[in-house]
């Protein structure tokens, strides 16, 4: 371990201090992991960056857009594959480039990645992938470290914001030196944790240019066959590199217990078992097995602490080393100090803590809801009334699967709804009208090919495009349907009606999402139409880009018959009042929350909801 930074477990050394570039006066600033990644990429001199928004990765591209336009081009792409392809193009052209995405975004970009790994890079190329252990805001908790192994692409795992900055900056050097794309794997916990970060300077490498080399850049079978062995060589070279990288930390401590870890779990280990011997690795793939072997030999017992899959544990065991891990730590969910502690207790390393009796408390459920005045509300009220079989998609509107709207039957992945509906229709087992609902941004992301598929195969389905003029769920990002780009400049705007007609759809109608009768009538006619019908439900999001607030409505209590039909909207501004009518609560509107969308007033059978008189 000659080259390995060795510290005493007790020494207080910022994790990434050893490898940050020296500058005269270093400014420091509290940054989230995402902001630190953006900063690291900017310091590395990137010229092109592209992403599709996705929690928890979204702020990386938003932060990059805060750097001057003359330094770098940053863009929202229509999806993650497009974003990665844009970055690959920039790398071909000889500049440093970055693509960022959430973990499931890498599935979309995977096709490009699996070829890119054979091609390698010209300008350094870094892919930032943010995993979501614990599924705070995703459809699964897949582990990108397994993906990086599959693609044979090194996977760096920063443990905190400082390391995120430094590792991202250095990842570009690594990419160019080893002719490989590099994955930076973040997690929700790193991406959204703010801590003090020491900043560096921006150094732009000398501008490169396109290098004509068909045997490397054109992946036809003959070329690809020659590239595959290079990956194996590269893996070995990277393995050696990660044994001596400045980011390896071998903290000699107790001889009876050694912990191998990487990324954010390192902090949990330091919190719970600070006196253990710790080997913190910079990358989950490829592993420096010689170094790990020496570490294992230096202690009596070795545990691998890693979040989600046993990515490191399996490989270390396969190398014939005796380690334990997932026998004590969960394969599902997010790690946390208490989870690591419980694992160490079950391994017999820590004494069990006395059980604290939980207080018997009964807080109400509080699931996320559609905002008051959300234009999606009426689209789903209409579908509820139609009693349709609804294939849903990814976005705020997935919340319509919950009570009281409860009008979405499936949700698979970005853009799945339309083709799922085609399949349900072709199965021939469904008597209800078959309807796919998809948001504007999701439609542009992955909804167009399945719409063409539906027309091409003459499926009898209805598609409702929920056009709220923004990518809402991730916090209001622009997309090609908004007419603005990432930096807020005006640009071409997709006309959904024209696009849908160009795909061959014969029945298209654009309706105002706030018009109850029109919306319901359109859905009914569309469902009755034989073939593909498209309803464009059109109203801007009430939160972004402009927070919409109109005059609030009011319930005239004397006329309210407590029928609760407005409560079916699930609007957060509607609640029960103290007044009763035949044993049921009359309804009351919270004026601070009501934006005056009038949906409840249109639905009310006793006509008791009116604009407030003030």
């Amino acid at each position: 371990m000659d080259h390995v930074l060795e510290t005493r477990a007790s020494a207080r050394t910022p994790i990434a201090e050893s490898s940050s570039a020296p500058t005269a006066q270093r400014a420091s600033r509290p940054l989230t992991g995402n902001e630190a990644i953006a900063r690291g990429a900017w310091e590395a001199g990137i010229r092109v960056a592209a992403a599709y928004p996705g929690t928890p990765s979204t702020e990386i591209m938003e932060s990059l857009a805060d750097y001057p336009a003359e330094d770098l081009h940053a863009q929202w792409s229509t999806n993650e594959k497009v974003a990665l392809d844009v970055a690959i193009g920039a790398s071909f052209a000889g500049v440093r480039a970055l693509a960022s995405m959430k973990h499931v975004g890498l599935n979309v970009a995977a096709d490009a990645l699996m070829s890119l790994t054979y091609i390698g890079v010209n300008g350094g190329l870094v892919i930032v992938v943010c995993d979501d252990p614990g599924i705070h805001s995703s459809q699964n908790e897949q582990d990108t470290r397994l993906f990086s192994r599959f693609a044979m692409v090194p996977c760096l795992e920063p443990a905190d914001a400082q390391e995120a900055l430094v590792m991202t900056r250095e990842a570009f050097d690594l990419s160019e030196r080893f002719d490989t794309p590099v994955i930076i794997r973040s997690t929700t916990r790193l991406s959204h944790t703010r801590s003090l970060v020491t900043l560096g300077e921006r150094t732009v490498p000398p501008s490169g240019h396109f290098r004509e080399d068909p045997r490397k850049n054109v992946m036809v079978p003959a070329h690809a066959r020659n590239r595959h062995p290079k990956l194996i060589e590269r893996e070995a070279a990277l393995r050696a590199h990660f044994a001596t990288s400045g980011h390896v930390r071998w903290e000699a401590g107790r001889r009876d217990i050694g912990i191998i870890t990487a990324g954010t779990p390192y902090a949990y280990v330091k919190e719970v078992l600070p006196d253990a011997s710790i080997l913190k690795l910079p990358a989950a793939y490829p592993l420096p097995l010689d170094l790990i072997g020496r570490f294992c030999a230096s202690v009596e017992r070795v545990l691998v602490v890693e979040e989600l899959e046993p990515a490191m544990e399996t490989e270390i065991r396969a190398a014939g080393l005796k380690v334990e891990g997932k026998a004590f730590f969960p394969r599902v969910g997010e790690l946390a100090p208490e989870v690591v502690r419980a694992g160490l207790e079950s391994a017999g390393i820590l004494e069990p803590q006395p059980k604290v009796e939980p207080w018997q408390l009964t807080p109400p459920a509080r699931p996320p809801v559609l905002c008051s005045g959300c234009p999606h509300t009426m689209s789903y009220m209409a579908l509820r009334a139609l009693d349709a079989r609804v294939a849903g998609d990814i976005g705020c509107y997935t919340l319509a699967a919950l009570e009281p709207l409860r009008s979405i039957d499936t949700c698979v992945s970005m853009g799945s709804s339309i083709a799922n509906a085609v399949g349900i229709a072709k199965a021939g087992t469904e008597a209800k009208p078959i309807i796919a609902t998809i948001g504007d941004s999701t439609f542009l992301h992955a909804g167009i090919p399945p719409l063409i598929d539906a027309v091409y195969n003459d499926a009898n389905i209805t598609v409702i495009i929920l056009d709220n003029h923004i990518t809402a769920m991730t916090g209001g990002q622009d997309h090609p349907g908004t007419g603005r780009n990432l930096r807020g400049s005006e640009t071409a705007r997709v006309d959904f009606e024209q696009m849908v007609r160009a795909c061959g759809v014969k029945w298209v109608r654009k309706v105002d999402s706030y018009n109850v009768a029109e919306m319901y009538q359109a859905c009914r006619e569309a469902a009755a139409f034989k073939g593909v019908a498209v309803v464009i439900s059109d109203r801007p999001c009430v939160l972004d880009p402009v927070k919409i607030k109109g005059p609030p409505l009011e319930v005239q209590a004397k006329n309210c018959i407590a029928c609760q039909s407005c409560m079916n909207l699930g609007c957060p501004a509607l609640g029960w009042s103290e007044d009763m009518f035949e044993g049921h609560h009359k309804v009351r509107i919270n004026a601070a929350l009501c934006i005056g969308c009038t949906l409840c007033a249109q639905i009310c059978p006793s006509d008791c909801i009116h604009p407030s008189v003030q």
């Binding site: 509290p30 949990y268 946390a336 109400p364 809801v369 049921h584 609560h585």
Partner: protein
């Protein structure tokens, strides 16, 4: 008495230098949990501590439960606070305070909560006659007694009294300031960096109001001016659902489907003869909506005499 002059006890300062101080800030999406935790993190940073502040974005924003961990000390490793180790829980909404209470240390943790209630739509789900809304039934007095060191203040009403309910968060910061070892002027200096310039004075008054309240011996507001409705509804004993009878006059029904589409509980359907029928009698809550909407007066809901008396 001005809270600025009073030396507060600061139970969470320098108790154990090696251990970080853990503050969990919770509330409902849109309330400003992030702003409160940013102020605290910036303050701790300026006082020379290492700080980690961790939150979760995304789904939580849409009116859901939101939390933010702030840890500060000589050295902080984990960004999250282990369950049962929060020194302080600050709740911007009452039920959220109740939800996260178990994260509080049992030995001397401090609980600071606004008693305002934001009742989620799903709490009004039960439409059975005389059903209660679902909301935390624990009263401020009960919870304060439970935790020992608790403050339940009606910050929202205090803020409204000062002129703007939105400074309720600053009132809570004022209360929080009495249990952390930082000078009030430092708090105010940091708060001013985070609020619009024209509200500086208002926020200053809000901060001092919260601080004054907390240094006075009160632990629970004299009159909890909470959402009277939710309070009352919760307090009402859940009566057994009375019997009712839904009858459909088949001769008058023309199968227009309106009742089927509008039934909140989806208990009606059209039968083979295209006549409405009560397919799921157990789900019917006797809300009368179908009776009101039927254009042919074909549906009648009769309640048992006992219920008529109750209404």
């Amino acid at each position: 008495m001005n809270a600025l002059d009073k030396e507060s006890a600061s139970p969470h300062g320098n108790r154990d230098a090696a251990r970080p101080t853990n503050v969990l800030i919770v509330g409902v999406g849109g309330q400003g949990v992030l702003m409160v935790s940013k102020v605290l993190a910036a303050l701790c940073q300026s006082e020379g501590f290492e700080v980690k502040q961790s939150e979760v974005h995304g789904m939580a924003k849409r009116g859901g439960s939101v939390f933010s961990h702030v840890r500060f000390g000589e050295q902080v490793w984990s960004p999250t606070i282990p369950r049962g180790e929060a020194d302080i829980v600050v709740a911007l909404e009452w039920a959220e305070g109740v939800r996260w209470l178990d994260h509080l240390r049992r030995d001397g943790g401090t609980f600071i909560a606004d008693t305002q209630r934001i009742v989620p739509p799903i709490s009004f789900r039960n439409r059975t006659r005389n059903a209660a809304s679902a909301y935390a039934p624990e009263t401020p007095a009960e919870v304060v007694a439970l935790v020992g060191n608790g403050f339940a203040l009606d910050a929202t009403s205090m803020a409204t009294g000062l002129g703007d309910r939105r400074v309720a968060n600053t009132v809570l910061l004022g209360a929080l300031s009495t249990v952390l070892p930082f000078a009030a002027e430092h708090w105010l200096a940091v708060i001013e960096q985070f609020v619009p310039a024209k509200t500086k004075d208002l926020n200053r008054r809000a901060f001092l109001a919260g601080r004054d309240w907390a240094v006075s011996a009160e632990r629970v507001p004299a009159a909890v001016a909470t959402d009277a409705v939710a309070q009352k509804v919760t307090a009402r004993a859940i009566e057994t659902a009375p019997a009712h009878l839904l009858t459909i006059n088949e001769a008058w029904c023309k199968g227009c489907d309106i009742c089927v589409k509008m039934c909140p509980e989806r208990c009606l359907s059209l039968n083979a003869r295209m006549v409405a029928e009560l397919a799921r009698p157990d789900a019917c809550t006797a809300c009368h909506l179908c009776e009101w909407l039927c254009p042919d007066y074909a549906i009648r809901i009769e309640s048992t005499p006992a219920v008529k008396g109750a209404s």
